[in-house]
C-alpha cells in the first residue's frame, strides 16, 4: 500500500498547491513534499525485496496487484512493486523533488501555485514510472510525465521556451509512439502464452522463447524489430547521440529547478526502461548487437563531452555532460557483467544527484549575476565563496574524485565493461570511454578557472552578494548525499547488485 500512498499523496498535494494562493505556494509545496521523502526513506529502511522484479523467483517489495481493466484477452492490473533497481530511483525522485522545490523559491516569481502543483504532479507520475510492473500502467505514467514537463519548460522557461517545450514534447511523444508499437509487436507475437500485460509475465515468456511469428515474419525478426523500436524510444529519452538534440534546448530554456528534475530524474526514465525492456526482456538481441550498442554508448560519451567542451554557457556545459554520463550507463548495461549493470544503475542515482547539484549551483550563480556565460564573469569565488566551493566540489564529483559517488559509479562501470565477454574488444571500448573522463576534467576545470577564480569581473549590471540561505541549503544536502554514497556505495549498491545479478545471465543460449 505504500507505493499507492506515495503516488496518491503527491497527486493530492499537487491539487492542494494548485489552489493555494501564490504567496504560500512555495512553502506549502516544500512542506507537503517532505511527506513522500519521509515515506520513501522509511520504505528504503524496511525494504525486503529480493531479486529482479521482472524475473522468476523474485519478490518485489511493497507489491500490490489489483485488477484494473480487461482488454480482450489481456487482464490489465494495477501492479506496482519495487526491487533493488527501482527503490533507489524512487528515493532519488522524492529527494530531488523537495530540493528542486526549495531551490525554486528564489527564481520562480509568477504563477507560483501552478508551478509547484505541476512539479508535484510530475513527482507522482515519476514514482509511478519506477514502480509500475504492468505495461499499460507503466505507459500511463510514462506519458503523464511529459505533460507537466511541457508546461514547466513552456511557461516558466527562458526566452526561447516555447520552441524548446514543443521540441521536447514532439521528440518524446514520437519516441513514445514508436516504443508503444514496438512493445505491442512483442505482445502479439507472444499470442496465447501471456494472459496479462504484466512486465514480469512478458519478460519471462520472452526469455522462455515463446515468441511466435506474426504474419509470416519469423520470431527473430520480430524480436529484432521490436528491440530497435524500443531502443529508439528510450534512446531519445536518455538521450543517446544522435537523438539528443532536444536536450540542450530543453535544459537551457528550462528554469533551473526544472533542469534539476529533468537531468536528475527524467533522463533516468530512459536508462531505467532500457534496463527493464531491452536488456532484461530482449537480452539475447542485446547481446547479439552488443558492439553496435557499445558504439552508441562510446560515441555518446566522447561526442557529448566534446560538445560540452565547445560551449560558453555554463548550463549548456552541464546539459551536454549529461549526455556523456548517460553514455557510461549504456556501456555498463551492455557489458552484461554484474558490476557493469550494477554500476550503470548506481550511476543513474549518482548522476541524478551530481547533475542536480551542478544545475543548482549554476542556478544560484545565475540568480545573483543574471548571466550564465563564461565570458561574462570571473572571480566569482571572491563574492560567492560558498557557492563557488560547492560548484568546485560538484565538478570534482563529476570528474570522479574518489570518495564521491561519481567515482564509485564510474569505477564499477569500467570494471564491469572491461571484463565484459559480451562485447568483443571490450577493453578497447572501455579504454575509449575512459578517455571521456579526461575531456570532462578539461571542460570543467576550464569553466571553473574562468568563472570562479582570477580577479572579480562581471559584465552585468547586478550587484551581487552572497546567495540567500534557502538557495544554498539544498546544495549542501545534495553534496552530503554525493559524499555519503561515495564513502558507502553499499547504501544502494547491495540492493542493486541483488536485483541485477540475474539480468547478467540472460540471453545466453536461451530464447528463440
Amino acid at each position: 500500500m505504500l507505493v499507492e500512498l506515495l503516488i496518491l499523496f503527491a497527486l493530492v498535494a499537487a491539487g492542494i498547491v494548485f489552489l493555494v494562493p501564490d504567496e504560500y505556494a512555495g512553502q506549502s509545496a516544500a512542506v507537503l513534499s517532505l511527506v513522500p521523502v519521509g515515506v520513501s526513506l522509511w520504505m528504503y529502511s524496511i525494504f525486503d525485496g529480493t531479486g529482479n522484479a521482472l524475473l522468476e523467483g523474485s519478490q518485489p517489495a511493497f507489491e500490490t496487484i489489483t485488477s484494473w481493466v480487461t482488454l480482450g484477452p489481456y487482464a490489465i492490473s494495477w501492479h506496482v512493486g519495487l526491487d533493488g533497481v527501482s527503490m533507489p530511483l524512487v528515493v532519488l525522485t522524492t529527494l530531488l523533488t523537495t530540493l528542486a522545490i526549495v531551490s525554486a523559491w528564489t527564481p520562480i516569481d509568477e504563477r507560483e501555485s501552478q508551478f509547484y502543483g505541476l512539479v508535484l504532479f510530475m513527482q507522482a507520475a515519476l514514482i509511478g514510472v519506477f514502480a509500475a510492473l504492468d505495461f499499460l500502467l507503466w505507459f500511463v505514467f510514462w506519458e503523464a510525465v511529459l505533460v507537466p514537463m511541457y508546461f514547466l519548460i513552456g511557461v516558466w522557461g527562458g526566452p526561447r521556451r516555447k520552441y524548446a517545450a514543443i521540441k521536447f514534447f514532439v521528440y518524446t511523444n514520437v519516441a513514445s509512439l514508436v516504443l508503444f508499437v514496438g512493445f505491442f509487436t512483442l505482445v502479439f507475437g507472444l499470442g496465447d502464452s501471456i494472459s496479462t500485460l504484466g512486465l514480469p509475465a512478458i519478460a519471462q515468456a520472452l526469455n522462455a522463447g515463446q515468441l511466435g511469428s506474426i504474419g509470416g515474419v519469423s520470431p527473430s525478426t520480430v524480436k529484432l524489430a521490436a528491440f530497435a523500436a524500443l531502443f529508439f524510444g528510450f534512446a531519445v529519452k536518455v538521450p543517446v547521440v544522435p537523438f539528443h538534440t532536444w536536450l540542450p534546448d530543453a535544459h537551457v530554456e528550462a528554469p533551473t529547478p526544472v533542469s534539476v528534475l529533468l537531468a536528475g530524474v527524467l533522463l533516468k526514465m530512459g536508462t531505467y526502461a532500457l534496463l527493464r525492456f531491452n536488456f532484461t526482456m530482449l537480452a539475447d538481441v542485446a547481446r547479439a548487437n552488443a558492439e553496435l550498442i557499445a558504439i552508441f554508448a562510446v560515441v555518446s560519451v566522447i561526442y557529448g563531452a566534446l560538445l560540452a567542451l565547445a560551449q560558453k554557457d555554463l548550463k549548456r556545459i552541464v546539459a551536454y555532460s549529461s549526455i556523456s554520463s548517460m553514455g557510461y550507463v549504456i556501456l555498463g548495461l551492455i557489458a552484461f557483467t554484474p558490476h557493469g549493470v550494477g554500476g550503470a544503475t548506481f550511476q543513474m542515482v549518482s548522476h541524478g544527484l551530481i547533475s542536480g547539484l551542478m544545475f543548482m549551483a549554476v542556478g544560484v550563480m545565475y540568480n545573483e549575476t543574471h548571466t550564465r556565460m563564461i565570458g561574462d564573469m570571473s572571480g566569482m569565488a571572491d563574492r560567492m565563496p560558498v557557492t563557488a566551493g560547492v560548484f568546485v566540489a560538484a565538478a570534482f564529483g563529476y570528474m570522479g574524485l574518489p570518495l564521491m559517488s561519481g567515482f564509485a559509479a564510474e569505477v564499477l562501470v569500467f570494471m564491469g565493461a572491461f571484463r565484459s565477454t559480451t562485447i568483443s574488444a571490450a577493453p578497447l571500448f572501455t579504454g575509449i570511454a575512459m578517455f571521456g573522463i579526461v575531456i570532462v576534467a578539461g571542460y570543467l576545470l576550464r569553466a571553473m578557472q574562468k568563472t570562479l577564480f582570477g580577479p572579480f569581473r562581471l559584465e552585468t549590471d547586478y550587484d551581487i552578494g552572497r546567495a540567500p540561505f534557502q538557495d544554498v541549503a539544498p546544495l549542501f544536502v545534495l553534496l552530503a548525499l554525493v559524499i555519503a554514497l561515495g564513502v558507502a556505495p553499499d547504501l544502494f549498491y547491495t540492493m542493486i547488485q541483488d536485483a541485477v545479478f540475474e539480468v547478467t545471465a540472460l540471453g545466453l543460449g536461451g530464447g528463440a
Partner: protein, 506 residues
C-alpha cells in the same frame, strides 16, 4: 438490487422509464412556458430541464447495475410487439445521452442568460434526447426512422436558435437541408429493404434473408442507402459536410450536444441494425458491409484529422476532430469480420463513444464558456487564458489531451481498446485501421496541443478581462473534466458493462 425484469417486480414498460422521463420533462417545460411565457424565471426552467435528464440518468444507471435486459436477468425486454427493445446496449447509450443532456442543460443556464425563448430551447434539447433514447431501443426500421426524425427535427431548431445571428441561421438551414436529403435517402433505403424482404422488424429481416430471397441487388442498394443515412447522423464521410458549419454556427452547448449525444445515437442505431438485421454471414453474398465501413472509417478519420489540423478557429477544429472521432468509433463495426471477437470490438466502440461523450462535451462547453466571456474564436484569441481562469483551463487541457489519447483521461484507454480490437481481427483491413488510428492520433496531438499552448504558454494578445465565473458553465466543465479523468482509473467499471451489452447482441 431488485432484478428489474418481470411482472412481479415492475411492469415491462418501466424499462422505458428513461425515455418517458425525458419526454415528460419536455412537456412540463411547455406547461411552465404557457403559464409564464415571459422567461422571467430561467432558474426554474434550467432546474426542471436538468432534473429530468438527471433522474433519467439515475434510473438508467440503476437498470445497468441491476442488469435489466441483460442475459443474466433473462435477456432483452421486447415492448410493443417487438417494435422497441430494451437491452444492455440501449441502456448503455441512454446513459450517455442523459448524462450529456444534463451537462448541456446545466451549462445552458448561464449561456442563455438574457436570451429569448429559453423554455423552447430546453424543451427541444429534451425532445431530441427522448428521440435518441428511443433510437437506442428501436428494433424495427419504422421505429428507427421515427426516432431518428424525433431527434433530428428539434436539433435543426436548436442549431438556428440564435435567430439574429447570421451564422447560426445559415448553419441551421444547411443542417436542415442535408438532414432532409439524408432522411430521404434513409427512407428510400428502408423501402428497398422492405421491398426485398417484406418485413420491417430487425430480427425478422435477418430471418427472411437467412431463408434466401430473390432480388438481392435491391437489398444491397437498400443496405448501402441505410448506411448513408447513418453517415449523416454520425457526421461520417460522405455526409459530413454539414458538421463543421452546424457546429460552428450553433450555440456552443448545442454543438456539444450534437457532436456527442447525437453522434452516439447514430452509432447505436447503426450497430443494432447492421448486427441484428444484416448479420455478415447472411448478407455476405449480397454486400460486404464490413468492407464498406472499413473504407468509411479510414476516410472519415483521415479527412477529419487532416482538416482539423488546418483550422484557425477552435470551435471549427473541434468540429473536424469530432468527424475524426466518428472514424475511430466506426472501427468497432468495421472489424466485425474474420477472427474478431465481435462483442469485444463493438464494446470498444461503445466505450470510445462513452468517454467521448464526456471529453468532447466538456471541450465544447469550454468553448461556450469562452464565448460567454466574449473572447474571440481563433487560437490566438485564447492566448493567455490560463492566467485568468486556471481551473477551467486545467479542465480543457484534460479534455484535449484525453481526446488526443494521452493518458490524462479515459480517452487513452478507449483508444487502446479499439486498437486491441483491430488486433484481434487480424485482417489486412484491421491492420490498416490500426495504423490509421495510430497515425491520426499522433497528428491530432499536434492540433489539440495548439490550444493548450495558446492557453498556457502564450502571453495574452487581446485586452479581455474575465470578470465573472458563471456557476453553471463552470460546474458542467469541471464536472465533465473530473469524469474524464476518473474514467482512467475507473475504466474497468464501465468496460465490463459495455462488453457484456455488446456481446448480448450477437
Amino acid at each position: 438490487m431488485i432484478p428489474l425484469q418481470t411482472a412481479d417486480t415492475l411492469p415491462d414498460w418501466a424499462a422505458l422509464a428513461p425515455a418517458v422521463l425525458l419526454a415528460v420533462t419536455a412537456l412540463a417545460l411547455f406547461l411552465i412556458d404557457s403559464i409564464d411565457p415571459s422567461d422571467e424565471s430561467p432558474g426554474l426552467l434550467a432546474g426542471v430541464a436538468t432534473l429530468g435528464p438527471v433522474l433519467a440518468m439515475v434510473v438508467t444507471g440503476w437498470y445497468l447495475v441491476a442488469g435489466t435486459g441483460m442475459p443474466r436477468t433473462g435477456g432483452a425486454i421486447e415492448l410493443f410487439s417487438g417494435q422497441l427493445v430494451v437491452d444492455g446496449m440501449s441502456l448503455f447509450f441512454t446513459f450517455i445521452f442523459t448524462s450529456v443532456s444534463a451537462l448541456i442543460t446545466v451549462a445552458s443556464y448561464d449561456y442563455l442568460s438574457g436570451r429569448q425563448n429559453q423554455a423552447e430551447y430546453y424543451a427541444l434539447v429534451l425532445l431530441a434526447a427522448t428521440g435518441m433514447s428511443v433510437m437506442a431501443s428501436a428494433n424495427s426500421l419504422a421505429t428507427a426512422f421515427v426516432a431518428l426524425e424525433l431527434s433530428s427535427l428539434p436539433s435543426y431548431g436548436l442549431v438556428a436558435y440564435l435567430k439574429n445571428d447570421r451564422g447560426s441561421v445559415e448553419a441551421g438551414l444547411k443542417y436542415f437541408l442535408i438532414g432532409a436529403v439524408s432522411s430521404a435517402v434513409l427512407a428510400y433505403g428502408i423501402s428497398l429493404i422492405y421491398a426485398s424482404s417484406g418485413v420491417l422488424q430487425l430480427p425478422a429481416i435477418a430471418g427472411v434473408l437467412a431463408a434466401g430471397i430473390d432480388n438481392t441487388g435491391v437489398l444491397g442498394v437498400g443496405i448501402l442507402m441505410v448506411a448513408g443515412g447513418f453517415a449523416f447522423k454520425t457526421a461520417s464521410v460522405p455526409f459530413h459536410f454539414w458538421a463543421p458549419e452546424a457546429y460552428e454556427g450553433a450555440p456552443a452547448p448545442v454543438s456539444a450536444f450534437l457532436s456527442s449525444a447525437s453522434k452516439a445515437a447514430g452509432f447505436v442505431l447503426a450497430f443494432r441494425i447492421f448486427v441484428t438485421a444484416f448479420p455478415l454471414d447472411v448478407v455476405a453474398g449480397t454486400i460486404d458491409w464490413a468492407l464498406a465501413f472499413t473504407v468509411l472509417a479510414l476516410v472519415t478519420m483521415t479527412v477529419g484529422n487532416f482538416a482539423a489540423a488546418t483550422q484557425d478557429k477552435v470551435k471549427r477544429m473541434l468540429a473536424y476532430s469530432s468527424i475524426g472521432h466518428a472514424g475511430y468509433a466506426l472501427i468497432g463495426i468495421a472489424v466485425l469480420t474474420g477472427t474478431a471477437d465481435q462483442g469485444y470490438a463493438l464494446g470498444a466502440s461503445m466505450l470510445h463513444l462513452f468517454v467521448y461523450g464526456f471529453m468532447n462535451t466538456g471541450a465544447f462547453l469550454f468553448v461556450a464558456l469562452v464565448e460567454y466571456w466574449g473572447v474571440g474564436r481563433t487560437f490566438e484569441d485564447y492566448n493567455g487564458l490560463a492566467k485568468q481562469a486556471p481551473v477551467a483551463c486545467v479542465a480543457m487541457t484534460v479534455f484535449l489531451f484525453s481526446l488526443a489519447g494521452l493518458p490524462i483521461g479515459g480517452g487513452a484507454l478507449s483508444k487502446w481498446t479499439l486498437l486491441s480490437a483491430t488486433a484481434s481481427a487480424a485482417t489486412l483491413g484491421a491492420w490498416l485501421l490500426a495504423a490509421a488510428l495510430i497515425v491520426n492520433s499522433a497528428l491530432s496531438l499536434f492540433y489539440y496541443s495548439r490550444v493548450v499552448k495558446a492557453m498556457w504558454l502564450e502571453d495574452p494578445t487581446g485586452d479581455f478581462e474575465v470578470t465573472s465565473y458563471p456557476t453553471g458553465l463552470y460546474a458542467a466543465v469541471v464536472g465533465a473534466a473530473i469524469v474524464t479523468f476518473l474514467l482512467l482509473p475507473a475504466f474497468g467499471v464501465v468496460s465490463g458493462t459495455a462488453f457484456d451489452a455488446a456481446a448480448a447482441l450477437f
